[in-house]
């Protein structure tokens, strides 16, 4: 439904790993409307990269498919949905576990979901085997004033005021 968010966008691209950079840079450019800090923007880029890589490597297992990225902005948050119509995840709890990987022989770290979880504020994984996987993540952007207020207080504390 159009209009219930402040802004929305949707990307669709072929599951080539050369599109990982395209996806994370596009989402970061879109998210920059919320005036995020450099750190917050870097968190978003990393999480998107992880999600898109999962679609390409695990969802489609390096075969051709379409990866979809949808972003919604509202007030001070961004919601990012990354989905594929690939093979799906059998056991989501297991897949979320740090260091768990189905492809250890290919030098995979098994840290993808752990990184998404720690860099974003909310992470939801929905998957149906042989139908596909949808990741929904949300990040709240701290208003600039609060950050600078904290900064001022830190300065005051340091100066002993």
């Amino acid at each position: 439904m159009l209009g219930i968010y402040d802004n929305e966008m949707k990307l669709e691209f072929v599951s080539k790993s050369s599109n990982e950079a395209f996806a994370r840079i596009s989402v970061a450019a879109f998210a920059s409307q919320l005036d995020p800090s450099i750190d917050e923007l870097a968190d978003i880029k990393t999480a998107v990269s992880e999600a898109v890589t999962n679609c390409i490597i695990h969802g489609y297992e390096n075969t051709m498919g379409i990866v979809k990225v949808e972003c919604k902005l509202k007030n001070n948050w961004i919601e990012i949905q990354v989905s594929d119509s690939g093979k799906g995840i059998e056991d989501i709890e297991l897949a979320r576990r740090p260091l768990y990987t189905t492809k250890a022989n290919l030098e995979r770290s098994g840290m993808g979901f752990t990184i998404m979880e720690s860099f974003m504020d909310e992470l939801k994984i929905e998957s149906i085997p042989n139908m596909g996987t949808k990741i929904t993540m949300k990040k709240y952007i701290m208003p600039l004033e609060e950050e600078s207020k904290d900064g001022q207080e830190e300065c005051k504390q340091k100066e002993g005021i």
């Binding site: 990393t46 993808g112 752990t114 990184i115």
Partner: protein, 117 residues
Amino acid sequence: MECIYIPKDKLLAIKIAEEIDENSTEKLRRKIDNEITRFMPRKVIFDFGNVSFMDSAGIGMLLGRYKVIRMLGGNLELTNVNKQIEKIFEISGILKIIPLTKSEEICEYGGKNVGNI
């Protein structure tokens, strides 16, 4: 990527100069392993000064290089890592086996450039 080798200390420093993700790791892996087998160094330092982005694909790549280097009797260290990438290292626990080191160390040794790969 710039490679610096110091024969007296058998130290190989590799300045990685690209974003590290799933798309770039295969090429990096090949190039780095080439240099490692060429010099058989006792110590390898990866300089992250020009790496603006890395995701978990980088962790897998680093662990793989760590295994190769250890197998050949060397050690691996990292330097010039930015804040975001350090956060990923901390979450993954990789710093327990691949420590961060100060970048001055490479300069102190006075190595020479042995090629751009």
